[in-house]
Symmetry: C2
Subunit: 440 residues, 2 copies
Amino acid sequence: MAGKKIKKLRRKVAKLKAKLSAINGMHSDAQISPLAPPGGFPDLPAITGVRFAALNSGVRYKGRDDVMLAELNAGSVIAGVFTKSSTRAAPVLDCQEKLGAPASGGAAILVNAGNANAFTGSHGQASVNALTGEVARVLNIDPVRVFSSSTGVIGEPLAHDLIVSKIEELHRTLDAEGACKAANAILTTDTFPKGACATIAGDGGTMQIAGFAKGSGMIAPDMATMLVYIFTDAKISQSLLQELVSATSDSTFNCITVDSDTSTSDTVLVAATGQSAAKEISELASPAGNAFADALHGVMRDLAHQVVRDGEGATKFVEINVTGAKSDQDARCIAMSVANSPLVKTAIAGEDPNWGRIVMAVGKSGAVADRDKLSIRFGDTAVAENGWVASSYLEEAGAQYMKRQDIEIGLDLGIGTGKSVAWTCDFTKRYIEINADYRS
Amino acid sequence: MAGKKIKKLRRKVAKLKAKLSAINGMHSDAQISPLAPPGGFPDLPAITGVRFAALNSGVRYKGRDDVMLAELNAGSVIAGVFTKSSTRAAPVLDCQEKLGAPASGGAAILVNAGNANAFTGSHGQASVNALTGEVARVLNIDPVRVFSSSTGVIGEPLAHDLIVSKIEELHRTLDAEGACKAANAILTTDTFPKGACATIAGDGGTMQIAGFAKGSGMIAPDMATMLVYIFTDAKISQSLLQELVSATSDSTFNCITVDSDTSTSDTVLVAATGQSAAKEISELASPAGNAFADALHGVMRDLAHQVVRDGEGATKFVEINVTGAKSDQDARCIAMSVANSPLVKTAIAGEDPNWGRIVMAVGKSGAVADRDKLSIRFGDTAVAENGWVASSYLEEAGAQYMKRQDIEIGLDLGIGTGKSVAWTCDFTKRYIEINADYRS
């Protein structure tokens, strides 16, 4: 009898313990986002003219790489877009200045994670000078050709000496196959490294593009975004590359948001080494120019999506397609208003087909909208039309759709031809945990 | 031996059960906000010329009042401000039209909670007509003098017949002392009713102001806000009252935000019955005009603060004071950027003095800022100055300050004389729970 009771109580203890452990599990830190690409980090092709190295500097993290160096051959051109934040970090200001400088000789990109070197007064530029100066000395290139980024905590001085002392070791370990190691070294709250690549048939040979990104929180790019490094062996002028990168950022990175907060360190750098056998791309309106632009767009959109898929606490990937707006600008404004609405994002987290909140977000956007011409769909399911719920809509169909991991919300304004897209994730308790419980 | 084991296991079960119950307790619904005014709902004075009634209509809630009627004597004037949402609800559009109509005879305000009658197509206006028509018939007044509001779920048709059938009972139970009952009838996710009042010494007698509000989520007023009803016996023209209410909304309700989401139903109505013995206020630039404006400002700010103090999931009340900006508009833009930043609000929830995130929010605001002239303080503690951490600042002092329930963040831009204030709350897991787990 007593034996039976003991067994019963033991089962009860086991059950209660499992419940507690499940609850605690939700707070654990080491999980990879459920939205991460199933195949893991892609097998990036080596880009002729580019070598990578990464190691641990001890600035903040233990037991993982936190600095990466990319070395570029002589003649490489570099294009970039950056955060518009008025409190942007010292390395961002430094990169912006250097992009305009006349380019000759080799080049390099140095990135550290764990400290953003942002809002660090005059110390900030001194750190940038020390770091880029040492890279220039060791690689024997012009300091104006050394670009740098820092990501992590804002407002703490960067212990740049720790990194300066490692530049020679970085130089010694440069490796054409080192992109994956480099992609891992720049992560902060990210749960997986983000990479993408493309091969283009050029005129006289193929061209390759390989890139990687970091970003998970403080994601609401404004003409630029998080940290992104893309490399290609294409032959292309700096001005043409810059034109392409600016336009393509606008339709990729600038269409994503995780939390409406814009980083002080957002940087996209695209470097072209010109080592491909293919002829130079001398205009974008050419078969090779188009093919290269399409491929670059694909790589940038892929990386942008991966940043959203690693959104802090994300469990759903959401695409918002706006059509029929008065202008493209109005369409973007509406798409972003929906994508940034805490009430829409929490409803999606709760798998609640609460389309009334989408109506609210359209209304607050400031864009022109006629309530009685607005229609909404979830995937192929018509939800609302002509200012009210669609006659064919069943709440159960909406609820079923919301259980999906990838969700598409369509909004037609019915008043024009303007269109835009936004990509975002849901808003969960885990986001609050990550940002309330730890200093990022 | 077996007995001991059973006892031990029983203790273990009890302990584990207590842990689970504590975790479940955090999800319970019935808690009053920890930021609620300690004295509870104030003892509002009766306003001569105003009577209230409230009851349950059965539209959505059980066991609580969900409709209130306010009856106003002949000659009352009514001023209002409303949401600028382009998807605003039918009752809002109806109120806006009626405000401009010539006023004579008695007036009334009818409010229901549980259904917002928003995005309900032509059914929306039909409901408003049915409701205001029945009030006009029963009270024997012009329908153009009957104002109405609805708050609750968006996109579901309002079962207005349930309310229409109760108008006679509302009329029979009108009571000059009924403001508290009316204030309770308009709540939705609110955890406490919000009231405020003032007495002004006028010329020839005193004037009284009494008002109440609802609001907890979907709070980011844009030239108007949630639902607010204020009553006074002052003698004042509609045009003068409207001028005052519009200006005062701008420095009270328009300075608050809970979640950056703007409601489709935001409405502020201020009714003046003219029954005070005090002389008419014929211009604002007079002793009585100033006193009345000050008192009205106090009542509106008090109600605005109470809405923030009932912010969904709030555990901290936060005031953001911006000074030294290029213009007042820039200052407001910065104050709201900080007040709406999920990263700032989650840091406050976590009692983390993470001032780097405040720098980020200034940077993304779009307002003019010089990083190296920016200074930040928590209460009286200097945190950052001249673009970096203040030399006197100790992280422990910041951490200690963040433990307070009421927090003041000061931001000086150091470049002009523009100033503004914003009031907000922190951003907790409870907000996500409220909005992910339940349809609001």
